[in-house]
Amino acid sequence: MQEISQVTGTGVPMLIDDVDTDRIIPARYLRCVTFDGLGQHVFEDDRLQDPNHPFDDPRFQGGSILVTGRNFGCGSSREHAPQALMRWGIRAIVAESFAEIFFGNCTSLGIPAVTAARTDLQRLADVIAAKPATEITVDLSAKQVCFADQTIACEIPEEARSALLTGQWDFLAQLLKTEEAIRQTAARLPYLNDFVGC
C-alpha cells in the first residue's frame, strides 16, 4: 500500500466536541451495500439545520484536512463515517482526541488521524477561517502540523504512525501471512477444543 508520511491541502475548521458518527453520516444512509455515494451525505442533518456549516461554506470547498475537537467520531462503529468524510475529500483529521473505533477505521482507510493541543487547534482553525487558502501539511514523520509560518506538535499512536509511514496499513495482507500461527492459537484455546486439558 501507499506510504503515507505527509498530507498537504487546505483546511476545514469545525472545532466542536463530541461529534458522533450518527451526525457524520445519518443512519438512513447506511441502507446500502457499498460505500459509494456517501460523500455527498456527510453531516447532512447538521448541514440542513445550519446554513453556515463548514462543509457547505464556499471558502472551505476542496479542503482536505479537517480540524475538530474532543472525542471526534464517538458512538456507532459505522465505517460509513470515515468513508463519507474520505469520499467528500477529507484526507487527514487533526483533533483534540478521537473515539477509538473511529480512529481504527481511519487508519484502515489510510486517513491519518492525529491529535493536537486545544490551543494549537484553535490557532489553526483561526488561521483557516481568516485565510482559507492556507496550505496545511500534516507531517507524520516529524509529528507536526505546518501552516503559514507556524508549526504545531501532533501525536498519533506509534502503531498507527508506523503502519501509515511504512505503507502497511492494509492490515488484511499482513494478517493473511500468519495462517499457521493463527491455527496454532486456535488449537490451544479451550473452547475450540471441547474444553479438554484446560
Partner: protein, 468 residues
Amino acid sequence: MTDRRNLFNKVWEAHTVGTLPSGQTQLFIGQHLIHEVTSPQAFEMLRDRGLKVMFPERTLATVDHIVPTDDRRRPFQDELAEEMMTAIERNCREFGITLLGLEDDRQGIVHVVGPELGVTQPGITLVCGDSHTSTHGAFGCIAMGIGTSQVAQVLATQTLPLSRPKVRRITVAGSLRPGVSAKDVILHIIRRLGVKGGIGYAYEYAGPVFDAMNMEERMTVCNMSIEGGARCGYINPDQKTVDYLKGRPFAPQGDAFERAKQWWLSLASGPDAEFDDQVEFDGNEIEPTVTWGINPGQAVGISEPIPPVESFPPEEQAGVREALQFMELQEGQPVLGLKIDVAFIGSCTNGRITDLREAARVVRGRKVASHVRALVVPGSRQVEREAEQEGLAEIFRQAGFQWRSAGCSMCLAMNPDKLVGREICASSSNRNFKGRQGSPTGRTILMSPAMVAAAAIEGRVADVRELL
C-alpha cells in the same frame, strides 16, 4: 505465586497470535457476529481479493437493524432494506455462514441473540461490526465493536490487529435503592466519568452491586460501556454466569460443560489482581437517572434540576449550551414533568425479557396517556414468544402500547420506526444523539424501561418509584 493478572489480560494473552510489524497484537477472535448493515462491504472486500472465510463456523449472522417490526413480509417496502437483506442471505450462503434470518425463530438483535443462544461465553474474544458489542462482556469475555474493514479481516483471518487497552476497575459498593435499575447505574457512571473518560480503557465492573445483578442487568451495564468511551466492558464470571449458560443450545453440554465451568471461573480477576486505574461509586447514591442533552453523559438523577452551565468545566460549556438549545431546555429546569410524545421500550440495551417484566410491572392495569405514541419492541423472537406466553404482551396492548416484533427499531431508526419533527421520546435505548431516532430534529431522553413505562402512563417524564 498467585496470578495477579485481571481477566482482561488473561484472555488477551490466551488469544495472542503474535506481534505485527506495527507493534500491534494480532489477536485471535473466538466468535464473530455479523448483521446486515456493516457486513456487505466486507464480503465485497473478500471477493475483490479472492479470499475465503477462514473459520466459517466461528461467525454467526442475524438481521436486526433494518427489519420492519410490524409488516415483515418480503420483499420489504423499502427497496434499499430489501437489497441489504438479499445481500446478507447471498453472502452467508456463498461463504458458508449460519444465518438466523427473518424466518428463523431465533432471529433478533445481535446482542440479544448471542447471549440467549449461549454463543457468548466467558473467556472468549467476540467482535461484531457494531459498537454495542461491549454488551457481551457481561459474561467475562473481551467483546468489542469494529468497523467494516475489520469485519473483512476477521472473516478472512479470524484475527485483528489491536493495541492492548489499559484496564480500569469500576467498583460500585453498597446496594441499589428500590426502583433503581442497571440502566441508572451505567448512566450514573457515564455521567461521572464522562463520555470520553473511557478512551484507551477496558472497564471491569466489580463489587456488590454488579454481583447482585442478574445476567441481563449486567448486559445493560456492559452495553453502554462504549457510551463512556470504553471500547469494551466486562464483569467477572460467577455462578450466575454458569447457571445462565447451562442448557443453552450453543453452550457446551454434558461433561464438557463441567470442564468449561472450571475454566470460566478460573479466569475471574483475583482479589489481588492489578489494574491501571480504579474508581469507586456508592450504589446507594444512585437515583433513577435521565438524560437532558445530546450525549449519554448529559444526565441527572430524576429529582435533580439540570445543572447550571457555569458548573461545567469551561471546555464543556459550549457543548452544554448546544445541547440545551437543541433540547429546548434551560439550566436549573427539572427533567421531571417534561411532556413526551413517544415512548420506546426496546433495543440491545433494554429489550430483554427482564426489561419487559420490569416495564410491565409499571404498566399493568394502567393506560398510556392519550397524546403518547408508545411501542414495545422485543429484542428477539425468543423474547417476543416469552413475553406473549407470560402475558406481558397483553398487558402492554391493554394499556395502549403497540406490541411489535424483534429488531433494533427506533433505537437508530433504520427501519420504518422513526420520530417525526421535534417529537420528544422517552427511550430505553442507548443514544440521545441529535437525529438518532430518525428525525433530524427529534429529541431523545434516555432512561430505564420502567421509567419509560412510567413516562408513557403519565405522558411526562415521571419518577417510577411513585408508580411502584
